[in-house]
């Protein structure tokens, strides 16, 4: 057990717990952030993706010890931003959402990609989303959604 601090969705938080827990469990069980999903639990599907210092990571394969003093953002925190609104509308418009289980991870992946590279090529979009699995849409609609977000969000990234 240890008391640690990190920034979670723009707020400084302190938690006294076992540092050998997965970030995924801490976010869901201690902070009730259930937009973070457990899919495969082994880093292959991206449903548990969150931003760590503005870059996508899988919270299922991140020990809590690795976020000490860092900045974590989940889909709940990101949903308060203009960038989120833009991505959300683009996903809805392009039909990039069906069952919705992968969607928080897909949106986090989109943000991580555009934050680093605001004008990606089609191939770069595919690389950016390549760690996220979707069993409904067949991916093309999601790639279209990202392109739509880039168009609508000119200047945001």
């Amino acid at each position: 057990m240890a008391k640690i601090n990190f920034k979670l969705n723009e707020e400084f938080v302190e938690i006294d717990t076992d540092l050998n827990r997965r970030l995924l469990d801490v976010l869901r069980d201690d902070f009730s952030l259930t937009g973070v999903k457990e899919g495969c639990g082994e880093g292959e599907c991206g449903a548990c993706a969150v931003l760590l210092d503005h870059r996508i990571i899988n919270s299922c394969s991140t020990p809590l010890a690795n976020v000490i003093g860092k900045e974590v953002m989940t889909i709940e925190g990101f949903s308060k931003t203009k960038r989120y609104e833009t991505i959300k509308e683009a996903f809805a418009e392009a039909g990039g959402v069906q069952c919705g289980f992968c969607t928080p991870g897909m949106i986090i992946a989109t943000e991580s990609l555009l934050n680093k590279n605001p004008h990606p090529t089609d191939f770069e979009i595919k690389i950016g989303l390549s760690g996220n699995l979707c069993r409904c849409t067949g991916y093309n609609l999601i790639v279209e959604a990202v392109k739509e977000a880039i168009k609508r969000g000119e200047g945001l990234w």
């Binding site: 540092l19 991206g46 993706a49 870059r55 996508i56 394969s61 020990p63 010890a65 003093g69 760690g131």
Partner: protein, 281 residues
Amino acid sequence: MVNAYVPKTLEDCLKLLNEFDLKIVAGGTDVLIQNRAPSQLAIGYKKDVCYILQIEELKKIYEDDQYIYIGSAVSLEEIMDSMIVPEILRNTILEMASPAIRHTATLAGNIANASPAGDSLVTLYLLDAEIEIRSMNNLRRMKVSDFITGVRKIELAKDELISKIIIPKFEFDQAYFKKVGPRLSDAISKVAFAGAYIVEGKKIKDFRVSFGAVNVTVVRADELEQKIISRTVKDIKKMKETIVSWYEKAINPIDDQRSNKAYRKVVALNLLREFIENLNL
């Protein structure tokens, strides 16, 4: 419950390793999966853990005249984005895992994991990469190919830590990495190949190839490379099938859930054929 240590300096880390028997964890992207517990329970480590990602001294990439030095806590993404890192290693990393894993996983972790299918190892063997290993009372340096002795077997004492990866600077005429896997990302290779060469005055001055996932460790055969060096490119192309037969003996893949022996062997040797066919004067 196992203890978690999170040292902030290299000195503190080495002291801890000197005192206790600890599992070293960097990004954790392999270690967490290998020690997976049921959801909502703590990670199922078998012993106490030392987390090294908070150690700033291990987070630098720099160079001198002869070498590039990569700290063992530098993420794969940072290595991929660094212009001083050889292009073949950056391209190799681009084919490893996914953006989410590359943001937190480390090259030192891929080395210490010593998987027969570790992608970076294929390129690190090709480049004659070395590692720096530290303990409280010692500092040593060895080739990655000597450090890995078998499947998940490495030459690391319990008080030691990989502190740097050291890559010799070398200009090849061409150097590339190719991976054969079922998916663009998050795929563990069925076969991986890396090749590099230098031609000088129509003759081969340097020739290297390495193969991943076709034996217990990466296959690179110095004695075969020596038999190829100094010949003309034209001769090498003529004796392509002879060279392939030499390498066939060194390639000894297994059947597993990802692929099978026959496929791995054929594909590995075809990647070698392609490399030889594409040698340029």
